[in-house]
Protein backbone atom coordinates (compact mmCIF):
# COMPACT_ATOMS: atom_id res chain seq x y z
CA UNK A 1 0.00 0.00 0.00
CA UNK A 2 2.68 2.43 1.04
CA UNK A 3 4.63 1.46 -2.04
CA UNK A 4 1.63 2.30 -4.17
CA UNK A 5 1.27 5.69 -2.51
CA UNK A 6 4.91 6.48 -2.91
CA UNK A 7 4.73 5.60 -6.59
CA UNK A 8 1.82 7.98 -7.07
CA UNK A 9 3.68 10.68 -5.23
CA UNK A 10 6.60 10.18 -7.55
CA UNK A 11 9.36 9.12 -5.23
CA UNK A 12 10.45 6.11 -7.25
CA UNK A 13 11.46 7.89 -10.44
CA UNK A 14 15.09 8.92 -10.52
CA UNK A 15 15.31 12.66 -10.96
CA UNK A 16 15.73 13.65 -14.57
CA UNK A 17 17.93 16.53 -13.57
CA UNK A 18 20.83 14.30 -12.57
CA UNK A 19 20.53 12.68 -15.98
CA UNK A 20 20.65 16.09 -17.60
CA UNK A 21 23.71 17.07 -15.60
CA UNK A 22 25.58 13.90 -16.38
CA UNK A 23 24.87 14.12 -20.10
CA UNK A 24 25.96 17.72 -20.14
CA UNK A 25 29.20 16.92 -18.38
CA UNK A 26 30.08 14.33 -21.00
CA UNK A 27 29.08 16.36 -24.01
CA UNK A 28 31.04 19.37 -22.77
CA UNK A 29 34.26 17.42 -22.44
CA UNK A 30 34.04 16.82 -26.15
CA UNK A 31 32.77 20.26 -27.09
CA UNK A 32 35.52 22.00 -25.20
CA UNK A 33 38.21 19.72 -26.61
CA UNK A 34 37.06 20.24 -30.17
CA UNK A 35 36.86 23.98 -29.69
CA UNK A 36 40.49 24.18 -28.71
CA UNK A 37 42.58 21.75 -30.75
CA UNK A 38 45.40 24.12 -29.85
CA UNK A 39 45.14 23.02 -26.24
CA UNK A 40 45.18 19.34 -27.20
CA UNK A 41 48.23 19.96 -29.34
CA UNK A 42 50.09 21.64 -26.49
CA UNK A 43 49.19 18.75 -24.20
CA UNK A 44 50.51 16.33 -26.82
CA UNK A 45 53.80 18.20 -27.08
CA UNK A 46 54.17 18.39 -23.30
CA UNK A 47 53.50 14.67 -22.98
CA UNK A 48 56.06 13.79 -25.64
CA UNK A 49 58.61 15.89 -23.85
CA UNK A 50 58.03 14.23 -20.48
CA UNK A 51 57.98 10.73 -21.87
CA UNK A 52 61.16 11.38 -23.84
CA UNK A 53 62.98 11.73 -20.54
CA UNK A 54 62.42 8.04 -19.99
CA UNK A 55 62.20 6.43 -23.38
CA UNK A 56 62.66 7.02 -27.04
CA UNK A 57 59.31 7.11 -28.78
CA UNK A 58 58.12 7.15 -32.35
CA UNK A 59 56.52 10.57 -32.55
CA UNK A 60 55.24 10.12 -36.09
CA UNK A 61 53.17 7.07 -35.13
CA UNK A 62 51.81 8.55 -31.95
CA UNK A 63 48.02 8.43 -31.53
CA UNK A 64 46.29 10.74 -29.16
CA UNK A 65 42.52 10.92 -28.71
CA UNK A 66 39.65 11.68 -26.44
CA UNK A 67 37.42 8.63 -26.27
CA UNK A 68 33.98 8.40 -24.82
CA UNK A 69 31.75 5.55 -23.82
CA UNK A 70 28.44 5.62 -22.00
CA UNK A 71 29.69 7.04 -18.76
CA UNK A 72 33.28 8.16 -19.13
CA UNK A 73 35.58 10.21 -21.21
CA UNK A 74 39.16 9.05 -21.41
CA UNK A 75 42.31 10.41 -22.91
CA UNK A 76 43.77 7.51 -24.84
CA UNK A 77 47.31 7.67 -26.13
CA UNK A 78 49.04 5.01 -28.15
CA UNK A 79 52.75 5.67 -27.99
CA UNK A 80 55.12 3.31 -29.79
CA UNK A 81 58.31 2.91 -27.78
CA UNK A 82 61.53 2.53 -29.79
CA UNK A 83 64.00 2.24 -26.98
CA UNK A 84 64.26 2.62 -23.22
CA UNK A 85 66.82 5.08 -22.05
CA UNK A 86 69.37 3.27 -19.94
CA UNK A 87 71.16 6.36 -18.70
CA UNK A 88 68.04 7.62 -16.98
CA UNK A 89 67.68 4.40 -14.94
CA UNK A 90 71.35 4.65 -14.01
CA UNK A 91 70.93 8.21 -12.77
CA UNK A 92 68.20 7.32 -10.28
Amino acid sequence: MLEFISRILGKETASSKSLAKERLRLVLVHDRASISPAMLNRLREDLVQVISNYMEIDETALEFNLCQDERDVALVANIPVLKMKRDYAAKC
Partner: protein
Amino acid sequence: MVIAARVVEKNKELCGKVGQTMGEVIVVTSGKGGVGKTTTSANIGTGLAQAGFSVVLVDTDIGLRNLDVVMGLENRIVYDLVDVTSENCRLKQALIKDKRFANLHLLPAAQTKDKTAVSPEQMKALAEELKKEFDYAIIDCPAGIEQGFRNAIAGADRAVVVCTPEVSSVRDADRIIGLLEAADLKNPKLIINRIRPQMVKRGDMMDIDDILDILAIDLIGVVPEDESIVVSTNRGEPCVMDKNSKAGEAYRRITKRIQGEEVPLMNLDVPEGFMDKIKKLVGLR
Protein backbone atom coordinates in the same frame (compact mmCIF):
# COMPACT_ATOMS: atom_id res chain seq x y z
CA MET B 1 5.39 62.16 -18.76
CA VAL B 2 5.92 63.54 -15.29
CA ILE B 3 7.83 60.43 -14.37
CA ALA B 4 10.05 60.79 -17.39
CA ALA B 5 10.86 64.40 -16.59
CA ARG B 6 11.79 63.57 -13.04
CA VAL B 7 14.00 60.72 -14.11
CA VAL B 8 15.91 62.94 -16.46
CA GLU B 9 16.54 65.39 -13.64
CA LYS B 10 17.74 62.56 -11.46
CA ASN B 11 19.96 61.38 -14.25
CA LYS B 12 21.67 64.73 -14.49
CA GLU B 13 22.21 64.90 -10.76
CA LEU B 14 23.37 61.35 -10.25
CA CYS B 15 25.50 60.72 -13.24
CA GLY B 16 26.22 64.19 -14.46
CA LYS B 17 28.09 62.59 -17.28
CA VAL B 18 27.53 64.82 -20.24
CA GLY B 19 30.40 63.73 -22.43
CA GLN B 20 32.81 63.26 -19.54
CA THR B 21 33.11 59.60 -18.62
CA MET B 22 32.59 56.98 -21.29
CA GLY B 23 29.53 54.79 -21.12
CA GLU B 24 29.52 51.00 -21.18
CA VAL B 25 28.48 48.63 -23.92
CA ILE B 26 26.89 45.40 -22.70
CA VAL B 27 26.01 42.60 -25.11
CA VAL B 28 23.23 40.13 -24.27
CA THR B 29 23.89 36.81 -25.97
CA SER B 30 23.14 33.07 -25.71
CA GLY B 31 24.00 30.90 -28.69
CA LYS B 32 20.69 29.09 -28.62
CA GLY B 33 17.63 30.91 -29.92
CA GLY B 34 14.53 31.79 -27.99
CA VAL B 35 16.01 31.67 -24.50
CA GLY B 36 15.21 35.28 -23.61
CA LYS B 37 17.90 37.61 -25.00
CA THR B 38 15.44 40.17 -26.33
CA THR B 39 13.27 40.03 -23.21
CA THR B 40 16.38 40.46 -21.08
CA SER B 41 17.76 43.34 -23.18
CA ALA B 42 14.43 45.20 -22.97
CA ASN B 43 14.16 44.73 -19.22
CA ILE B 44 17.75 45.56 -18.34
CA GLY B 45 17.63 48.64 -20.56
CA THR B 46 14.33 49.82 -19.13
CA GLY B 47 15.52 49.02 -15.60
CA LEU B 48 18.66 51.11 -16.04
CA ALA B 49 16.62 53.97 -17.51
CA GLN B 50 14.22 53.69 -14.56
CA ALA B 51 17.23 54.06 -12.27
CA GLY B 52 18.09 57.31 -14.00
CA PHE B 53 20.79 56.35 -16.49
CA SER B 54 20.77 57.32 -20.12
CA VAL B 55 20.40 54.13 -22.11
CA VAL B 56 20.30 53.00 -25.72
CA LEU B 57 19.01 49.59 -26.75
CA VAL B 58 20.53 48.26 -29.96
CA ASP B 59 18.80 45.47 -31.86
CA THR B 60 21.43 43.61 -33.92
CA ASP B 61 19.10 40.81 -35.01
CA ILE B 62 19.03 42.01 -38.62
CA GLY B 63 16.18 40.44 -40.58
CA LEU B 64 14.38 39.29 -37.44
CA ARG B 65 13.93 42.44 -35.42
CA ASN B 66 11.89 42.08 -32.26
CA LEU B 67 13.17 44.47 -29.65
CA ASP B 68 10.93 47.20 -31.12
CA VAL B 69 7.74 45.21 -30.47
CA VAL B 70 8.85 44.06 -27.03
CA MET B 71 9.39 47.74 -26.20
CA GLY B 72 6.13 48.77 -27.87
CA LEU B 73 7.94 51.13 -30.24
CA GLU B 74 7.31 49.40 -33.56
CA ASN B 75 5.22 52.25 -34.95
CA ARG B 76 7.90 54.86 -34.61
CA ILE B 77 10.64 53.36 -36.75
CA VAL B 78 11.94 55.47 -39.61
CA TYR B 79 15.61 54.55 -39.94
CA ASP B 80 17.50 51.51 -38.65
CA LEU B 81 20.91 50.14 -37.69
CA VAL B 82 21.98 49.51 -41.29
CA ASP B 83 20.97 53.06 -42.27
CA VAL B 84 23.34 54.31 -39.57
CA THR B 85 26.31 52.04 -40.31
CA SER B 86 26.06 52.65 -44.04
CA GLU B 87 25.70 56.39 -43.39
CA ASN B 88 22.27 56.67 -44.92
CA CYS B 89 21.31 58.81 -41.96
CA ARG B 90 22.84 60.26 -38.82
CA LEU B 91 22.73 58.29 -35.56
CA LYS B 92 20.40 60.87 -33.96
CA GLN B 93 17.85 60.43 -36.75
CA ALA B 94 17.63 56.68 -36.25
CA LEU B 95 17.29 56.70 -32.47
CA ILE B 96 13.72 56.22 -31.27
CA LYS B 97 12.68 57.80 -28.00
CA ASP B 98 10.93 55.54 -25.56
CA LYS B 99 7.31 56.36 -24.62
CA ARG B 100 7.91 56.16 -20.90
CA PHE B 101 11.44 57.32 -20.26
CA ALA B 102 12.96 60.28 -22.03
CA ASN B 103 16.44 58.92 -21.25
CA LEU B 104 15.79 55.59 -23.01
CA HIS B 105 16.33 55.07 -26.74
CA LEU B 106 16.13 52.27 -29.27
CA LEU B 107 18.21 51.71 -32.37
CA PRO B 108 16.15 49.15 -34.30
CA ALA B 109 17.54 46.42 -36.55
CA ALA B 110 16.94 46.49 -40.29
CA GLN B 111 14.21 44.10 -41.28
CA THR B 112 14.83 43.75 -45.01
CA LYS B 113 18.59 43.17 -45.08
CA ASP B 114 20.67 40.29 -43.79
CA LYS B 115 23.40 40.01 -41.19
CA THR B 116 26.23 40.67 -43.60
CA ALA B 117 24.89 44.21 -44.19
CA VAL B 118 26.95 45.25 -41.15
CA SER B 119 30.57 44.45 -40.34
CA PRO B 120 32.23 44.02 -36.94
CA GLU B 121 34.38 47.10 -37.68
CA GLN B 122 31.30 49.21 -38.28
CA MET B 123 29.78 47.94 -35.04
CA LYS B 124 32.94 48.81 -33.16
CA ALA B 125 32.81 52.36 -34.51
CA LEU B 126 29.13 52.63 -33.63
CA ALA B 127 29.80 51.41 -30.09
CA GLU B 128 32.42 54.12 -29.62
CA GLU B 129 29.93 56.72 -30.76
CA LEU B 130 27.20 55.40 -28.47
CA LYS B 131 29.53 55.39 -25.46
CA LYS B 132 30.00 59.11 -25.81
CA GLU B 133 26.25 59.75 -25.74
CA PHE B 134 24.93 57.21 -23.25
CA ASP B 135 25.72 55.68 -19.86
CA TYR B 136 24.77 52.24 -21.15
CA ALA B 137 24.33 50.68 -24.57
CA ILE B 138 22.59 47.29 -24.38
CA ILE B 139 23.17 45.14 -27.46
CA ASP B 140 20.56 42.47 -28.22
CA CYS B 141 22.46 39.70 -30.03
CA PRO B 142 20.89 37.31 -32.55
CA ALA B 143 20.99 33.54 -31.98
CA GLY B 144 23.88 31.61 -33.48
CA ILE B 145 27.64 32.02 -33.63
CA GLU B 146 28.05 33.49 -37.09
CA GLN B 147 28.41 37.03 -38.31
CA GLY B 148 25.41 38.34 -36.37
CA PHE B 149 27.08 37.20 -33.17
CA ARG B 150 30.44 38.63 -34.19
CA ASN B 151 28.80 41.95 -35.03
CA ALA B 152 26.97 42.09 -31.71
CA ILE B 153 30.05 41.45 -29.58
CA ALA B 154 32.44 43.58 -31.65
CA GLY B 155 32.14 46.78 -29.65
CA ALA B 156 31.11 45.32 -26.29
CA ASP B 157 32.89 45.95 -23.00
CA ARG B 158 30.94 43.36 -21.07
CA ALA B 159 28.81 40.34 -21.89
CA VAL B 160 25.75 38.80 -20.33
CA VAL B 161 24.96 35.22 -21.31
CA VAL B 162 21.36 34.02 -21.04
CA CYS B 163 20.49 30.35 -20.69
CA THR B 164 17.55 28.25 -19.61
CA PRO B 165 17.88 25.17 -17.37
CA GLU B 166 17.99 22.75 -20.28
CA VAL B 167 20.77 20.58 -21.64
CA SER B 168 20.89 22.17 -25.09
CA SER B 169 20.77 25.72 -23.79
CA VAL B 170 23.52 25.17 -21.22
CA ARG B 171 25.64 23.45 -23.83
CA ASP B 172 25.29 26.38 -26.22
CA ALA B 173 26.01 28.81 -23.39
CA ASP B 174 29.26 26.95 -22.75
CA ARG B 175 30.23 27.33 -26.38
CA ILE B 176 29.39 31.03 -26.33
CA ILE B 177 31.42 31.59 -23.17
CA GLY B 178 34.42 30.02 -24.91
CA LEU B 179 33.94 32.25 -27.95
CA LEU B 180 33.53 35.37 -25.81
CA GLU B 181 36.74 34.66 -23.97
CA ALA B 182 38.55 33.97 -27.21
CA ALA B 183 37.34 37.39 -28.36
CA ASP B 184 38.79 38.91 -25.19
CA LEU B 185 35.44 39.55 -23.53
CA LYS B 186 36.53 38.21 -20.17
CA ASN B 187 34.26 37.29 -17.26
CA PRO B 188 30.89 37.10 -18.93
CA LYS B 189 28.00 37.02 -16.48
CA LEU B 190 25.21 34.46 -16.51
CA ILE B 191 21.44 34.92 -16.37
CA ILE B 192 19.42 31.76 -15.83
CA ASN B 193 16.00 32.35 -17.34
CA ARG B 194 12.69 30.48 -17.12
CA ILE B 195 13.54 28.54 -14.02
CA ARG B 196 10.55 26.70 -12.55
CA PRO B 197 10.89 26.30 -8.80
CA GLN B 198 8.30 23.50 -8.71
CA MET B 199 10.27 21.39 -11.17
CA VAL B 200 13.57 22.14 -9.48
CA LYS B 201 12.07 21.09 -6.19
CA ARG B 202 11.02 17.70 -7.46
CA GLY B 203 14.38 17.15 -9.16
CA ASP B 204 13.19 17.48 -12.73
CA MET B 205 15.01 20.68 -13.59
CA MET B 206 18.61 21.65 -13.11
CA ASP B 207 19.07 24.08 -10.27
CA ILE B 208 21.19 27.23 -10.16
CA ASP B 209 24.10 25.39 -8.54
CA ASP B 210 24.03 22.59 -11.09
CA ILE B 211 24.37 25.05 -13.94
CA LEU B 212 27.03 27.18 -12.25
CA ASP B 213 28.96 24.03 -11.47
CA ILE B 214 29.02 23.16 -15.16
CA LEU B 215 29.61 26.57 -16.69
CA ALA B 216 31.91 27.95 -13.99
CA ILE B 217 31.06 31.63 -14.50
CA ASP B 218 29.56 34.31 -12.27
CA LEU B 219 25.83 34.52 -11.92
CA ILE B 220 24.18 37.89 -12.33
CA GLY B 221 20.57 36.82 -11.97
CA VAL B 222 17.85 34.21 -12.05
CA VAL B 223 14.52 34.92 -13.74
CA PRO B 224 11.60 32.61 -13.07
CA GLU B 225 9.23 31.30 -15.70
CA ASP B 226 6.49 33.90 -15.44
CA GLU B 227 3.24 34.60 -17.26
CA SER B 228 3.74 38.29 -16.69
CA ILE B 229 6.49 38.18 -19.34
CA VAL B 230 3.90 37.13 -21.89
CA VAL B 231 1.44 39.75 -20.71
CA SER B 232 4.03 42.51 -20.72
CA THR B 233 5.23 41.48 -24.17
CA ASN B 234 1.63 41.62 -25.40
CA ARG B 235 1.40 45.15 -24.10
CA GLY B 236 4.85 46.25 -25.23
CA GLU B 237 5.81 47.24 -21.69
CA PRO B 238 8.81 45.47 -20.13
CA CYS B 239 7.79 43.76 -16.87
CA VAL B 240 10.63 45.42 -14.95
CA MET B 241 8.19 48.35 -14.57
CA ASP B 242 5.52 46.12 -13.04
CA LYS B 243 5.81 46.10 -9.27
CA ASN B 244 3.73 42.92 -9.01
CA SER B 245 5.71 40.84 -11.46
CA LYS B 246 8.13 38.22 -10.15
CA ALA B 247 10.19 38.29 -13.33
CA GLY B 248 10.09 42.08 -13.06
CA GLU B 249 11.55 41.90 -9.55
CA ALA B 250 14.26 39.56 -10.85
CA TYR B 251 15.15 42.07 -13.56
CA ARG B 252 15.17 44.96 -11.09
CA ARG B 253 17.74 43.07 -9.08
CA ILE B 254 19.80 42.28 -12.16
CA THR B 255 19.75 45.98 -13.04
CA LYS B 256 21.22 46.81 -9.65
CA ARG B 257 23.91 44.17 -9.98
CA ILE B 258 24.90 45.61 -13.34
CA GLN B 259 25.51 48.89 -11.56
CA GLY B 260 27.78 47.02 -9.17
CA GLU B 261 25.43 46.73 -6.20
CA GLU B 262 25.31 43.52 -4.22
CA VAL B 263 21.78 42.22 -4.07
CA PRO B 264 20.71 38.83 -2.73
CA LEU B 265 19.05 36.36 -5.07
CA MET B 266 15.31 36.48 -5.08
CA ASN B 267 13.50 33.89 -3.02
CA LEU B 268 11.91 31.57 -5.55
CA ASP B 269 10.69 29.00 -3.06
CA VAL B 270 7.25 27.73 -3.77
CA PRO B 271 4.82 27.73 -0.89
CA GLU B 272 4.25 24.25 0.48
CA GLY B 273 1.41 22.74 -1.50
CA PHE B 274 -1.18 20.15 -0.60
CA MET B 275 0.85 17.27 -2.03
CA ASP B 276 3.93 18.32 -0.08
CA LYS B 277 1.95 18.14 3.12
CA ILE B 278 0.72 14.66 2.29
CA LYS B 279 4.24 13.54 1.40
CA LYS B 280 5.45 14.76 4.75
CA LEU B 281 2.62 13.02 6.52
CA VAL B 282 3.40 9.70 4.84
CA GLY B 283 7.04 10.21 5.68
CA LEU B 284 8.29 10.51 2.16
CA ARG B 285 10.20 13.71 2.69
